[in-house]
């Protein structure tokens, strides 16, 4: 992994915005979200992201990636958040590819070239209905069966699981007290039951149940001698949390900009709303919250890419602050748009719903605060 120089990061940021501002206007986003094919995102767009090198930005050069780190990936995710991109960036690039990169055998890692070239979409099915945000509560089992395994269990709703080519699924090997294994499961394998549903923000996903799914030995990441995967799962979920924070920062910047523009043009009581000090301070509050979140996310990204021991806490703190900012900025963007903010027609409500989702994905502010509290020295 090699961080990009500032100039390269700037170029990456600009090329993303150039592309998305041109090809991912809100009207287009809505069409993709609600298209008849039922996948809820743009397959063509995914191919374009691959061509632009964005899918491989943080993948090793050996698989066709640019060898960038979490920060480079976050630049892509923030741009996605800015335009409410629907594509499975977090699911595939952070969770799925991350799992393979961390635990996979060389042969399994080599398959990441298909992530870089856009051919392989992944989703990570780990959380279970009784787990809440706890990471170590895994009841799904993977019973050894000859060289392979039989996977059984129910996983909670996961974004993009309905459309992924393969699901990375956790299950305890041999029974409820066994070590956690990570398995690559083709979504269309017999016994994989996909209950597709819309999420709060309109994106699609599924709650997936595995009913005696037969898997070969090569489906297990790292093979039969792989270590207990729980530590990797913890790291992945932390990264997932940071990833949705990066998306949220992009979304908050966009929605604050739009709200400011609205206040300047909307007139009531004979003047633009932007003339009222109460409203000026409100949008200032939105702006400051966004800035603080951005800075904390950046600090966490740096800590992750530096590989230091403080990365975990930096991520948790960034999640707490970004989630709080998202709640405030999203809510106020609706409030300041009045009735218009409550319509499906305007983008504002969609930003509000995306920010609401991102607050909760991979754990919410209260949950991370609780983890930090547990680590506070006596």
């Amino acid at each position: 992994m090699a961080s990009f120089a500032s100039e390269e990061r700037q170029l990456l940021h600009e090329s993303l915005h150039d592309f998305l501002s041109d090809r991912y206007a809100f009207e287009h986003q809505l069409k993709l979200a609600r298209s008849e094919d039922g996948c809820g995102f743009g397959r063509a767009e995914w191919g374009q992201y691959a061509e632009m090198g964005w899918l491989g930005v943080a993948l090793p050069e050996s698989v066709g990636g640019a060898d960038g780190g979490m920060t480079e990936l976050a630049i892509v995710l923030a741009a996605g958040g800015h335009y409410l991109a629907l594509e499975p960036l977090v699911a595939t690039l952070v969770m799925g590819a991350g799992a393979v990169a961390e635990m996979g055998s060389p042969e399994q890692v080599a398959k990441l070239s298909d992530v870089a070239n856009g051919k392989l979409i992944l989703a990570f099915c780990h959380a279970e209905p009784d787990a809440g945000y706890a990471r170590d509560h895994v009841m799904a089992t993977a019973m050894p069966d000859g060289d392979g395994y039989v996977l059984s269990g129910s996983k909670s709703f996961t974004l993009h699981a309905h459309a992924a080519d393969a699901l990375i699924v956790t299950g305890r090997i041999g029974g409820s007290s066994g070590p956690v294994g990570l398995f690559v499961v083709p979504r269309e394998a017999p016994g994989v039951v996909v209950n597709r549903a819309p999420a709060l923000d309109g994106r699609l996903g599924a709650a997936v149940t595995f009913e005696g799914v037969q898997l070969g030995g090569d489906a297990r990441l790292g093979g039969k001698d792989a270590a207990d995967g729980l530590a990797v799962v913890e790291r992945l979920i932390d990264r997932g949390a940071l990833a949705v924070c990066a998306e949220s920062v992009g979304a908050m910047a966009a929605v604050t900009e739009q709200t400011l523009a609205y206040l300047k043009t909307r007139e009531q009581f004979g003047q633009a709303l932007s003339q009222f000090q109460v409203l000026q301070h409100r949008v200032v509050d939105m702006s400051v919250a966004t800035e603080e979140a951005r800075a904390m996310v950046h600090a966490a990204l740096q800590a992750v890419d530096d590989g230091g021991p403080d990365a975990r806490h930096a991520i948790w703190k960034a999640k707490v602050q970004t989630a709080r900012a998202a709640r405030f900025v999203g809510g106020q963007s609706v409030q300041l748009h009045g009735g218009m903010g409550m319509t499906d027609e305007l983008a504002i409500g969609h930003y509000y719903k995306r920010l609401s989702m991102n607050e909760a994905l991979f754990g919410d502010a209260e949950w991370y605060l609780k983890q930090l509290a547990a680590d506070v020295a006596a």
Partner: protein, 403 residues
């Protein structure tokens, strides 16, 4: 300072029991189920139920006896609304019963009273409120929909927005501009418009809930008999203000807040984290405690309003109504946010299909989740409609603090 009695009014306990019993016997079972599942109620079944309530005179219980009502006090009316809510009934739509009706019996002619009041009492007519316009939200007085006198008619041109239930309504009470001279408030008139009049187009607005109850209404040379004018030309703003305080208190449905707080506690008990119910989590217990404090605050403000109304003969104070609306809607959003935060553990789905009658699919997460998410999204508007929180603060600033 602590002068009036805010003791709980036990004289209404028998009435409450009467309402409960009536709902138990007369409310269609499907309707009660829909309240829990959140499935949308169709016009026909809503109408049937409202007519049953109307047969007891309860739709207009708050009206004075001289106008066909039962002369209920504000506390009596509140008790009725609370018991309806507790029984799982949808609310009585306010547009005819607490808005158009009172304006008609207070300021209307005998003809107008005869034409409209009996129909409102029996729910033979559905009403909608034509107030807001794209350019007139918080600044309602700047409305532009024009009504020009032409012989025995007014010709109406313009557009109203955020019109709840316009797609069901038979009649609209509409604020129109009859003059551009003088202050903007002085050029406003209050006109009753038959929704079947040629030239009216109703266009649905889909909300962030993805549901439809709001509309835009377009008027293209709509001829309205001049006999549909309420009171005098140019006095429309006065008649509208007469209604506003009522609307604000009405937007604080305490029984509903209690219901959602109960739902939160139930949801906490059935949602697990690491295999343990969230109801055991200290952070959530504290959260519930905070919401209970908030609820006690809103109840106390409401009790105060009712005490003031008993003294002042029936109308809520502008001040008290503003504070109640401000704090009540904040609390409402807080309770619903708590619910959604718990639902995040189930993956934050919004199965809108579950809200369509007759859905047979497999719910993800607890039963009734879609209804809770719907309510949470809908009530993001609670701090916007009925006078936004910012406007309520302006009212308190000007009216109470002399700013």
């Amino acid at each position: 300072m602590f002068i009036r009695s805010v003791a709980h009014d036990t004289t209404l306990d028998a009435f409450r029991e009467e309402v409960r019993a009536f709902c138990e016997e007369e409310m269609p079972a499907e309707m009660r189920l829909k309240r829990t599942s959140g499935q949308h109620i169709e016009k026909a079944e809503y109408d049937l139920w409202l007519k049953r309530l109307g047969s007891k005179g309860w739709l207009t219980g708050k009206w004075p006896k001289e106008h066909g009502g039962l002369g209920w006090s504000p506390a009596h009316f509140l008790a009725f609304c609370e018991e309806l809510g507790r029984a799982g009934s949808p609310p009585v739509p306010p547009f005819g019963t607490t808005m158009a009706g009172p304006v008609i019996y207070t300021f209307g002619t005998e003809e107008q009273k005869k034409q409209h009041l009996p129909a409102i009492m029996k729910n033979d007519a559905w009403w909608c409120q034509g107030y807001s316009e794209p350019g007139a939200g918080s600044d309602l007085a700047s409305l532009k929909t024009k009504a020009v006198r032409d012989g025995d008619d007014y010709v109406v041109n313009g557009q109203k927005i955020w019109t709840s239930l316009a797609h069901w309504a038979d009649w609209m009470f509409c604020l129109v501009r009859t003059s551009t001279e003088g202050k903007k408030q002085q050029g406003i008139s209050f006109l009753l418009i038959d929704m079947k009049t040629p030239g009216i187009t109703v266009r649905p607005i889909i909300a962030i809930t993805l549901g439809h109850h709001l509309n835009e209404v377009f008027f293209d040379n709509v001829r309205v008999p001049a006999s549909n004018l309420i009171g005098e030309e140019g006095k429309g703003w006065t008649y509208a203000k007469f209604l506003l305080a009522n609307e604000r208190v009405g937007n604080v449905d305490i029984a509903k807040f209690e219901h959602y707080l109960e739902e939160l506690k139930k949801l906490l008990a059935v949602t697990k984290e690491g295999g343990r119910p969230l109801s055991e989590d200290p952070a959530f217990k504290r959260r519930v405690a905070e919401l209970e404090v908030g609820l006690a605050g809103v109840k106390a403000l409401m009790a105060d309003q009712l005490a003031a109304e008993r003294e002042q003969g029936g109308a809520p104070t502008m001040m008290g109504a503003a504070a109640l609306k401000l704090r009540g809607t904040e609390l409402q959003q807080g309770i619903l946010q708590g619910l959604v935060d718990v639902l995040g553990r189930h993956g934050m789905v919004y199965q809108t299909d579950a809200l369509a009658p007759g859905w047979n699919g497999e719910p993800i997460g607890p039963e009734g989740s879609a209804a809770l998410v719907y309510e949470h999204l809908y009530r993001r508007a609670a701090t916007i409609y009925g006078g936004s929180s910012e406007i309520q603060k302006n009212i308190i600033a000007k009216g109470s603090l002399g700013l």
